[in-house]
Amino acid sequence: MSDPVNFVANWLKTVFTNWGVSPTWTTIIISIIGVVVLAGVALVIDIFLVWVERKVVARFQDRLGPNRLGPFGLFQPIADVIKLLLKEDITPDKADKFLFNLAPVLALGMAIALWAVVPLAPTVIGSDLNVGVLYIVAIGSISTLGIIIAGWASNNKFALVGAFRMVAQMISYEIPMVISLLIPVILAGSMGINSIVKSQPVWYIVLAPVAALIFLISSQAELGRAPFDISEAESEIVAGFHIEYTGMKFGLFYAGELLHALTIGGFFSCFFLGGWRGWGAETYPILGIVYFFIKAFFMYWVIMWIKYTFPRIRIDQMLNLNWKFLTPLALAALIMTALLDKIFQNASSVVYIIVMLGGNLVLLYIAYLVTGIYARVERKKVASPEDNRVNFPIKSGANIVETQSSERVQA
């Protein structure tokens, strides 16, 4: 009974075979059952995430959060869902009706679809695709498209501006994210996510901390969460691309964002924290599921921590951070990892780990120095007497954040 999921699957297989169902159809039916169960579990977790999010943000802000409905307010999200289901659904007259409805479906659907390749345990994985990493990127592209559709179909100025900002941000941050994903692929020699997890006796966060950091930052931007939430800056464009959405349609966007955040946490744990790996996970796959979710929720907590700690950054700062800092750093890390790994691949594992870790730390230190010099030059430019105070760089359509804090974000 160490592996209940496969036990049930095999039992179903024998049942169907005894009924005289052909092997092909057996596979198809079991796949459908597997998909429905996985998607259902993802949705239930998603509802639960509403509670987690509200509770954690309350704690960060020294509040209590939902605490009336059920123990620790645990039934609050259920009440939320019932409320959303009973709310009137308004479609604006000028909206493109079909596309307007398609966008939230894509938002939640793609967040669920990502779970198809997440290895929950050594033997519990929807589909051990040999192009798993690129599959994640591809699904990310489709969600980007969903946002453009949402912004355009709403036929609303705020929605369109919000969608453009969001898309510019998502496509920009996709570059460092994918480059940082190339590093685990190189180290594991495979794009299959399960094989990447399997090849991590030493967690990749030790071998490639720079890639882990870049992945964390850029996926935060990919999610459009604070500090990268200029796309829904309440003070200027009200709510961004989902301004016209009401009731359950908005609920789908919200649920999609929360589930996507947890999924990013799960992928981070797969790529850099050893996924389901842990004591006894090989023999008792059920333990692997527990380890995986502990790591995924830890990373989800980190993502929330970042979200509720940093102020929103301006759009020019957002783009600068991406193109002038993260992308070059990611490329440098990729080149360094490829070279070091090739040169030291026959060295003993202790030497190998020290070299990789050392290389990454040296790279981080160089990046720190270069950014410091760059920041000093920029500060001098801003503080030079001829344009002192008059041309204080308040960019159009961006909210005002102090230059000081922005430099801290960039550094």
Binding site: V131, L134, L145, I148
Partner: protein, 170 residues
Amino acid sequence: MTGLQILFLIIAAITLGGALMVVTTRNLIHAALWLILCLFGIAVLFVLLDAGFFAVAQVVIYIGAIAILMIFAIMLTRKVAKDSGSQTNSTWPIAGIVAIVFFGGLVFLFQNWQPIHTLPPTLPQGYNSIEQLGMALVSPDGFLIPFEVASILLLTALIGALVIAWGKNK
């Protein structure tokens, strides 16, 4: 008729329908979205052809980048996109005839070619075509020169596009 064949026919019908909508729809944004549907159908066909890498690459490059670039370009030139008049040339019937004749000619040529009725050979066990592709791309006996030239091509395209679009203003 096997299940795979039915699947192929459904996908092919959706893709060709999407392609027809691309070339006939008035609203350019809609045309771009139909194009995306069509490209997605082609990605599914790549899966049927055992080229999973190209399926995801198709989605990443065509849908994730090229289609979005097109939508941005449509947005930039929106005064035209709103143009409610006819979206086709006056010579469109000729174009239609040319296309149909071309299609007929291609199908006629296929008939005289023997290997067209081959069925796919089974791939060897454990054959990793992505790995083979990666090896071929950087081995000097393989496609090293095209690989590096592709890089230079992309670089030239980037610089050229930036210069063409914004050259004078900076």
